[in-house]
Symmetry: C2
Subunit: 419 residues, 2 copies
């Protein structure tokens, strides 16, 4: 189980310790629910990308967890940002990411977003539709990639498959060529293409198949347009382990496989590469601490352990049927002897975070730690039931720093009409 947690996780005196800090001390000082990020795990993942592809432009896909503090840490490692809205662009700029390390995505960018991308002098805007070419030119965009959909079905949840034909993203090959041509005619520099394989990939096949396809597409570009892509943005996609028994490629394995295949199949000198990891940077670095409240035998088959958060801080179980495991942080060396359904505090039966979690006998006041919650949790969180969203802290060498303040009920009421 500990292998699902950040690298610095250990059990000391029966208690979970991360970044040199006891779970109970973190919970006491910062309250629960609390998302705890381990700086070491984050930096190690970032460095693994830089080491595996030193010449690639590495961008943090900040939708996984938009955080100015984490962007700054990654920027210091040479990372830029992949953004897809005005808000995400603002997070990147606030973190001091220079425009040349920002790529702007989005299947439906507003005029305001395109103008902001041009003003920020973003490295590339990624054109996602034929009629966006004119919009981008009018907004002052000078450099762009075209997003193409190769029509490959990645083995992942259908909501996060993105490269199949019929996706709302990108353009089928014929239209992509048309967009390249139109953009060049409109005076936009188009050095290459973007394509994205999927998300939470636990194997290499879809990535390799994409690269194979890309080689053929590049040849077609040369023959039909007399144009050769010299930049290839492969997006992100590398998955992480959420539960024991699951396997995922390492960053080194994933990137090396793509690079090797690209070298083998690309017609000519290999293109400049852009990578956009999100989940594989922050996913394992984060864990969530919850305080246990009600423990209830609901039927012969089900006993609930209720936590002080739920679908408002982590809606992945509701959105994707995502599975998690949990560790009793304050009795981390007790034997797991019972099976519990871990539910949240929201007014909804479906607000169940984990079905059948193996835990020691669990009581009110216990502290539950759920690993691998660093990506697509808080970033997709809500205020359902007027529940404020949790704080996030970054831990390292026995020190914790708040990187995202806990919301208050007053924050929620701030948007109400005053009279």
């Amino acid at each position: 189980m500990l292998s699902l947690f950040p690298e610095t996780a250990a059990v000391e005196d029966g208690e979970l310790v991360v970044g040199g800090l006891r779970a109970s001390a973190l919970a006491e000082e910062h309250g629960t629910p609390l998302v705890v990020y381990c700086e070491q795990t984050l930096l190690d993942a970032a460095r693994a990308y830089r080491q595996a592809a030193p010449n690639a432009l590495a961008l943090y896909s900040l939708k996984a967890f938009p955080s100015v503090a984490i962007l700054r840490l990654l920027a210091a490692e040479g990372f830029g940002a992949d953004v897809s809205t005005l808000g995400e662009l603002e997070f990147a700029l606030r973190a001091g990411i220079p425009g040349e390390r920002i790529v702007v995505h989005g299947n439906n960018k507003s005029g305001e977003e395109l103008r902001a991308a041009a003003e920020a002098d973003a490295r590339f805007v990624v054109l996602d539709a034929l009629d966006e070419v004119g919009q981008a030119a009018a907004a002052g965009v000078e450099r762009a990639l075209v997003r193409v959909t190769p029509g490959i079905e990645a083995d992942t949840h259908q909501a996060i498959r993105t490269a199949h034909h019929g996706s709302k993203f990108g353009l089928p090959p014929d239209q992509a060529l048309e967009a390249v041509q139109a953009a060049r005619t409109a005076g936009i520099d188009i050095p290459g293409v973007h394509l994205h394989i999927g998300s939470q990939l636990l194997g290499l096949d879809a990535g390799l198949e994409t690269i194979d396809w890309l080689g053929g597409f590049a040849t077609r570009c040369r023959k039909e347009l007399g144009w050769e892509p010299t930049v290839v943005d492969l997006g992100g996609g590398l998955g992480i382990r959420y539960v024991e028994g699951e396997r995922a490629p390492t960053v080194a394995e994933f990137v090396a496989a793509l690079l090797t295949r690209l070298e083998a199949t690309w017609p000519g000198r290999p293109p400049e590469l852009i990578l956009e990891p999100g989940r594989s940077l922050v996913g394992r670095a984060g864990l969530t601490l919850y305080r246990v409240g009600v423990v209830k035998r609901a039927s012969d088959a089900v006993t609930y352990v209720a936590i002080d958060g739920g679908m408002s801080d982590n809606p992945r179980p509701q959105l994707y049927g995502a599975r998690y495991e949990a560790l009793l942080a304050n009795r981390a060396d007790s034997e797991a002897i019972a099976s519990y359904d871990v539910c949240g505090k929201h007014c909804e039966s479906g607000d169940v975070l984990i079905e059948g979690a193996r835990l020691p006998e669990t009581r009110r006041g216990d502290l539950l730690a759920v690993p691998a919650t660093g990506a697509y949790t808080l970033s997709m969180g809500s205020n359902y039931n007027a529940v404020p969203r949790p704080a996030a802290v970054l831990v390292r060498d026995g020190m914790a720093r708040v990187i995202r303040r806990r919301e208050t009920v007053d924050d929620l009421l701030r948007h109400e009409a005053s009279s």
Copy 2:
């Protein structure tokens, strides 16, 4: 299609008008996405409840859409509030709802929430677990109901079924009796029980079956405990129509059926009734206006119409597979000749609001109106992709009033660490 919209909806000069205001004027003044609530529709639904059950305590289940302005309107009609967290309680108090018209729910109330309920002198706290009895007594709670799960399977999405055995809510009958006894021993006044049938019910059967069951349970209470419930809180549950062809009971039909059956099956003088509607008050009253951006042919089978919102303002399609329809608000009398998938602007393939929406030929700049979005949309909305949540306005007689301010990117950045 217009019958899915608020009562004041009409088409004038080819354009959708609500509350006497043109959709285009609303979009221009308040921006898009915009959630528009029709005051008349809301008040008519509220009055239908009051008329159908004049002696019942009617509570707005504010999780459907927490809004101080809407709570005030409903309070003027005699409504109170059903709340389930500290935040929801604060919304109710801010709207001036007196404690005697507040019932406090929750499957995992914190000590702070129980103390706040006691301080607000809430009409009832609804006890949801055996070990909550001691917690409630310690927090100073003086009056409570016990939530019992009759074990009835309502015909609705499994995430919002709540009355089956094995639900995280309430107590199976044996444990409920035990909780009644324990609470009385602890000095808490227990005048009755709460039970909840489900959500988005489109028929009467589950409700009637629950009432039948309740009569037997009341008899069992008298025989085993010498205690008779004199208050019955039936929760909410009445559904609304989301798409054409769907049928839902009217408020009058739904409430009359429950009352008649309660009179027929209750052993003795019928109890005081509490009703907790949410969706059936605000669901149809609300519609969402979106601006169309990209229109893209993604495959032979699918053409996308992309809107400037999506799963951040309405995650019901992703959470429940919810279906919607749409009207082209600026050409509302044009014939629907094409089928489009209406997708949002979020970085996720699953961000599709409507599959196969029938619309006239749709172009960039068009205004799309989606009916029946007043409940469980904004209240479950997120800031995914750092997208600020929309504003909500209340319309009546040609006047619009902002009841929820549009979020800004600065609002999202406010929680970031400053250094």
